[in-house]
Symmetry: C2
Subunit: 158 residues, 2 copies
Amino acid sequence: MASKSSRGPIDLPGFFADLVRCETRLYNALNDRLRERHGIVTSQFEFLRFLRDHPGSRVADLATEFAIGIGATSKGIDRLERQAWVTRRTNPSDRRSSLLDLTAEGLQLVEAAEATFTTTLAELIADVLGGPSGPAAVQVFSELRSVLERDQVGLPTG
Amino acid sequence: MASKSSRGPIDLPGFFADLVRCETRLYNALNDRLRERHGIVTSQFEFLRFLRDHPGSRVADLATEFAIGIGATSKGIDRLERQAWVTRRTNPSDRRSSLLDLTAEGLQLVEAAEATFTTTLAELIADVLGGPSGPAAVQVFSELRSVLERDQVGLPTG
DNA sequence: TTACGATATATGCCATGGCATCTAAGTCAA
DNA sequence: TTGACTTAGATGCCATGGCATATATCGTAA
C-alpha cells in the first residue's frame, strides 16, 4: 500500500479523527493492563503520578491539570482516599481547601504502576514514535498543549 | 522561554500526557461549540458524519470505528433515532442487525455541524499544525492509527 | 426438520464525569 | 465587627460508557 503523503494544506478534521481514535485505543489498552496488574485505571494512575510529582496539591490543581471538573476531581480523590493511597490534610493557610499527598502505599503503587504504564506504552507506540517523524510529533503536541493551556481552552465549568 | 528540544530517546509517557491533555481540551471546546450551535456533542457529530460517509452501516461497524462497546453504540444510535436524525431498517440479508442511514434532517444537521466543527478546529490547532512539524505529526498519527487498528488494540468487550 | 453453538444487538446495572447547588471559609470595605 | 461578595470543594442529579446478560436470528450438522 502506498503511503498517503498529501502535499496540500493539512486535513485538520482527518488529523483530529486519527488523534481521537489513537487516544481512545491507547487509553483502553492501558486501562486493561493497569487494571489487571494493579487494580487501577489510567485516570487513577495519572492522579497518583501527579500527586507524587506535585505533593501538597489541591483539588483545583488537579482539575486544571487534567481539564476536568472540580466535582469530578473531588470524587476521584474520594476514591483514592478510600483506598488509603491519598490523604487530605487541611490547608493551614486556607481552611476551605485540603492539601493532598500520597501515602506510603500510594507511592509504592504508583511506582509499580508506572513501570507497567511505561512498558505497555512502549509496546504500543515506540515503533511509530521512534520513526523519523516522531520528534516532530512530540514537538507539535508539546507546543499545542502549551497554547491550549495558555488560552484556557476546553476547561469544564464545575 | 527557550524551547525544550531534547536530543535523547523520546519521553513516551510525557508525549502521551501531552496527547491526552490536548485531546481532552479540544474535545471539550468542540463540545461547547457544537452544543450551543447545533444541540449535539462531538461524539454525536462523529456518529452522524460516519453515517453520512458510510450509509447502510451496522451498529458493529460504528463500534469498531470508534473503539467503543456495542452496547454504548446501540444506545447512541437510539438517541439519534429518537431525534429523527438516523433510521434503522432491518438488514434484508441478516435480520439480527439493522442498516443505519441518515434522514434528510440528519444530513442537513451534519453538514451544518461540520462547518462549525471545521472552523472551530482550525481556530484551535491550525497555527500549530501549520508549522514546520505539522505534516510529520499528521503522518505519525495516520500511521499509529493504522497499526493500532491492524492489531486491534484497545477494543472494548461489549 | 431439529438441535446446538455462534452472532448482532438490545437492555440492565454500575461507575464516572458534567453541571448546579450548597456550605464553609476567606476578603474587603464601611 | 459586620455584611456582601468571592472562592474551594463537597454533594446531588443526570447523561453516558463498560460489561454482563437476554433475545432474536443465523449457520450447520445430524
